[in-house]
Symmetry: C2
DNA sequence: CAAGATTGAACCTTCAATCTTC
DNA sequence: GAAGATTGAAGGTTCAATCTTG
């Protein structure tokens, strides 16, 4: 079934994981230093701020982040302690809940965003051509579609 | 300095991090199930097996993985408890040490590798054209060169 | 019994402090 | 004092178990 990876494949495979890991670490350090938010905090705040009323069901937020429920639940608990989000009950479905952006959460996000974008732009987009940006978008969209289509070892 | 990210940039940026995270999770689950190794274990074993005599200095291994010393030290301690690696003193420089692959470690790697490669091939390379593989390799090589050149927030 | 969500324990990662040798 | 490496504590992530409502 398999065969080894050839040199070009190794370069692409190792490059993909390494690049993402290093960019994530870079961005995490920058966020922590500039705003006290972790990258995970930031990633949670963004979809909440993009939701019309600043609130999402945990399962929807988890899906938006590709996070497990448990991870989200623990993380939201920590963010709640710091006042960045709140929990609310759901009237329609009493098993359910909402994660709600607080004004402190929105302010933290607004404070963090400009420097965050600047670092991403400098580290990534200043170094790539427009064609490369599009190619990267196409490649990752293809791979994500495959990952979500085939439950391989997924689930 | 900044300006917001446009749609294409967002697609590439979010796609890169998301794809790498999901592939890492997929591969981790597969390794855990098939061989009991974590992805981190696997990542440590590979450079050791590629070193001629199965031993590397911690600082060199850390550099090969882009890991902090502390993370490596903790991880090696856990792998040592499970018999996958050993520690050895370094005669040349008595501050130093070696991490050494054990035969159990090499066997675990050999057992894990075929299924691991198969999953990577199925999830990634079966879905991309040869040109896309090369483009991905070029893009990530460019970005890694930038990351290692500019100590931005790096350090 | 399944879906939405949380919890506790175990494991992993980071940060700052430490220890030894150069 | 700096380099190589380790340690302990705090915070983050995963896994399995649990609780409640549909």
């Amino acid at each position: 079934v398999a065969q080894w990876l050839d040199e070009r494949e190794q370069r692409a495979w190792r490059g993909l994981l390494r690049t993402a890991a290093e960019l994530d670490a870079l961005v995490s350090r920058e966020l922590q230093a500039s705003s006290g938010l972790s990258k995970a905090d930031y990633d949670v705040l963004v979809p909440l701020s993009e939701a019309g009323d600043g609130r999402l069901r945990p399962y929807a937020l988890g899906a938006a982040l590709s996070w497990e429920q448990s991870r989200l639940s623990h993380h939201v608990a920590r963010m709640q302690r710091r006042g960045l989000v709140e929990r609310e009950e759901c009237r329609d479905d009493r098993r359910g809940a909402f994660v709600v952006l607080t004004s402190a959460g929105r302010e933290a996000l607004d404070r963090a965003a400009p420097a965050h974008v600047a670092v991403v732009r400098e580290a990534v987009f200043d170094g790539l051509t427009a064609d490369q940006v599009d190619a990267l978008g196409d490649i990752t969209a293809t791979l994500l579609a495959r990952l979500h289509a085939t439950p391989l070892e997924d689930t």
